[in-house]
Amino acid sequence: MSSPGSDKSMQTIILYLQVHQPRRLQPVNFFDLGNEPHYFNDTLNESIVRRVSECCYLPANKLLLQLVKAHPQIRIAFSLSGVVIEQLEEYAPEVIDSVRELAATGSVEFLAETYYHSLASLINGDEFEIQVLQHAGKIYETFGIRPQVFRNTELIYHDDIGKRVAMMGFNGIFTEGHEKLLGQRSPHQLYCHPEHQQLRILLRNYRLSDDIAFRFMEGGTRLDVRRYLDWLHAMPAAEKVITLAMDYETFGEHHKANTGIFAFLEELLTSLSQSGRFRMALPSQATALPYEPLPLSCPSYVSWGDLERDLSAWLGNDMQKDAFNSIMKLESEIKHLNNSRLLKYWRYLQTSDHFYYMSVKTDSDGSVHSYFSPFPSSYEAFINYMNVVTHLTLKVNEEKNRPVRNENNLSPAEVERQTVKATTPVWVMNLESLPHGNVPEDNHS
């Protein structure tokens, strides 16, 4: 693979596609608490995963594979949550196969994220790191590629998150290229964490991304690919790195095939691959571009969520905050049990979508929230979630009070060590093994 950084005159374009489906909850009512309710609506989740596979993942993967084979210059990154990989394995394994084929081309890489698409980066302790490592392990196991660049849930970012991500050895991180973070600065430069320079910060161009993701059919007419390319070409040459990022479901699910979204994708990628001006790059390649990175400080949270671009889409109202606190406060108790099933359920309940459904925003963002929500209202989403949390708490207490903690009679500390061993792929910590080997200098201590 040629190094995209060799020709400094070319502008770099990164495209990453996010793939995620939560494990949506079953309707659980207060009186179900006595009936050992199953927490997850497997039927609904299966039908959604199958439907989206049919209309998006499979046709889009097929198209991308053709394109990548025809135009080796195309570069695409995928960000698949662990939760969606699991569900694809269960409900649509042919999707996994087709992603493997894409991975085998060498034109594709995978981003790291939390396995559970969670908000764990917002809490102290090591839960965030555990989930990130679990995800990296899952990606390697499934696709044989080691993630080097990190993308946090919903692009949530803060200096502290950057620090934690740098400490795990990642070369780069994505976040939202919003004025809130940048002020007058351009989102198209290579930035880095102010203290951990080895962590490059790549910024999503939300206008150009949302032109496709949200505005493809605005006003009833489809976005013309030449028009879109004109916008890209209007970009001054000094703009070095342009990140386009969107839900993969944009292609075929949010915009159905009959809108011409696939043709748009095909024309766009073909044009970019043949452009003398733009060069597509994988995120890991972009972090190695030979530009002097500019330090970018982010003392307050940003995300790609809603107009506010903060945490308010998930933790804006009191219900969301209290629900989040209610699940997170089970952490130490649940980790002291040797019960991998409860631990797993606890983590599924951290998936950000559950909190997203509890939003009471009434503006245009509110309609996006309800487009995605399986519940008729935020209150029902909240009550349902809390009923499940109540039941999980009940189970935790039952387990705690059991005379024998686990089959091997291990102490909680031993159990924890075992759990960490089982979920932590050792190679992730082994930084020398990373192709671009940006070994973090120990300048943060």
Partner: protein, 463 residues
């Protein structure tokens, strides 16, 4: 007797009260003709004769002369119109507003209200409405479009068309009165007052109106003027008024200007409790404190939530159940979350069937912090199930239940203190349980029926 609902098809306590009173009156050899807007066919009452207002034919003399027997819908419509205009002047200015529902605040503009109601499974106040709400006299939504009909098809619910149905029920009330013979007319709550008035107008028999709740109980200060007007008309047309408590009598006198001497207080009774089954429910908290009722202004849920905050300081492991639905539910959920109490609060939605008994079987103390409660049957049901109760002084049931802790609804500190005391002192809880359970046996419908019968004799004897 005019009612609006009859078991098993009830949405509140009114139907249950009507059944209890009717049965006991029959036991005292009072023959009751009980009229309801709609019978479903599965009512099994043997003690009273049930009359289905939906099956009553609109009187033929109202028909226009050039129409044949198979009356088409618009004809019925005109008949309705003329009949309505002929009736009392009090009705002539009753317009039919859209979207009225007396059991939810008319100003309940909460975004998710509809879906919340549906989440609550069976709070059918709005969901069951089958007729459009912008009906006019020219196009009554009275019958199925393809069945030429000479009767009104009542829903008998509390839906958007309630006022319209109440008016039509009034019309039918007069017709029913002309068909049967009786000595006293007895109308339960404002929905039936127009029917009672029509019946009195047609037969000159004495009218008793029975007030189970007033518009001020339901809506606080934001009353619906038309419902208020119907109540007022009924109260003043009546020869005598029955109030279910002194608390209600007080409101009738002060707010409606009813002379105190025309109001008899007759407290509701309660039938013996059927044995509840055993429930396998995880007893996951050492203390359960329960609010059970409609989550509306009248019931004071806000004071329950605020008291819970104080109780949790003393009993961090206490859990609180909010059992019921209503327009304030979203606000209560948000308030609980704001106080970070969500993991100790459980919102059940509307309760069905044996779920009420399940809740009682869990509950350590039941709290009814009503702002204004004409009577309040739920505390007596709790007591029958062996649950100690805390009542607000602003409730009728507090007048007849000495073995309960009573506080003013606004006094959150006293309320929290009372809850803590019951949770803390097993002896207190035990004594409350035992004594109230004994006392509740004295609160019978038989007693109420005796008083009602005496009143009937007094009124019938006058004529």
């Amino acid at each position: 007797m005019f009612g609006w609902e009859f078991p098993p098809h009830i949405s509140g306590g009114l139907g249950t009260a009507c059944l209890g009173l009717t049965r006991s009156l029959s036991a005292h050899k009072v023959k009751v003709l009980f009229v309801v807007p709609k019978l479903y066919g599965d009512e099994t009452e043997k003690d009273a004769r049930l009359i289905n207002a939906s099956a009553i034919r609109i009187t033929p003399r109202k028909r226009l002369p050039n129409k044949s027997h198979g009356v088409s819908q618009p004809i019925v419509a005109r008949a309705v119109g003329s009949e309505a205009k002929e009736s009392r002047h009090a009705m002539s200015y009753l317009e039919i507003p859209a979207g009225l529902s007396p059991y939810e605040s008319p100003r309940a503009g909460v975004r998710h209200e509809h879906s919340l109601s549906s989440w609550n499974y069976s709070f059918h106040a709005r969901a069951d409405v089958t007729h459009s709400s912008n009906a006019t006299e020219e196009t009554p939504p009275a019958a199925e479009p393809d069945t030429p009909s000479d009767h009104y098809d009542f829903t008998g619910t509390y839906g958007d068309n309630l006022l319209e149905e109440v008016k039509r029920y009034g019309t039918v009330g007069g017709i029913v009165a002309g068909k049967y013979s009786f000595d006293v007319i007895h109308a339960h709550d404002w929905m039936t007052f127009l029917a009672g008035i029509e019946a009195k107008r047609r037969t000159k028999k004495p009218l008793v109106v029975h007030v189970h709740s007033t518009e001020f109980d339901r809506a606080g200060e934001h009353i619906n003027p038309e419902m208020f007007e119907i109540e007022k008309t009924g109260l003043h047309e009546a020869d005598r008024v029955i109030a279910v408590s002194n608390w209600t009598k007080e409101i009738l006198v002060s707010r409606y200007g009813v002379p105190a001497e025309r109001v008899n207080v007759i407290h509701n009774g309660i039938g013996p409790k059927e044995e509840a089954g055993e429930f396998a429910f995880p007893d996951f908290a050492s203390h359960f404190v329960t609010f059970l009722g409609r989550v509306t202004y009248q019931k004071g849920p806000r004071f329950f939530v605020d008291a819970a905050q104080k109780v949790l300081q003393e009993f961090p492991d206490a859990h609180f159940i909010v059992a019921g639905a209503g327009d304030l539910l979203p606000q209560m959920i948000e308030r609980v979350a704001q106080l970070n109490m969500s993991s100790n609060f459980h919102f059940t939605g509307f309760l069905r069937g044996s779920q009420v008994d399940q809740i009682w079987s869990l509950t350590d103390v039941y709290v009814m912090p009503s702002v204004s409660e004409p009577f309040g049957i739920a505390p007596l049901e709790a007591i029958q199930s062996g649950v100690p109760v805390i009542l607000s002084n602003q409730s009728g049931v507090a007048e007849v239940m000495p073995h309960a802790i009573k506080v003013d609804f606004w006094d959150v500190k006293a309320l929290a203190g009372a809850i803590c005391s019951v949770l803390r002192y097993e002896s207190l809880s035990h004594v409350l349980r035992q004594n109230s359970k004994q006392h509740v046996q004295l609160l019978t419908w038989d007693k109420a029926a005796c008083n009602v019968k005496a009143l009937y004799h007094e009124l019938a004897g006058k004529r």
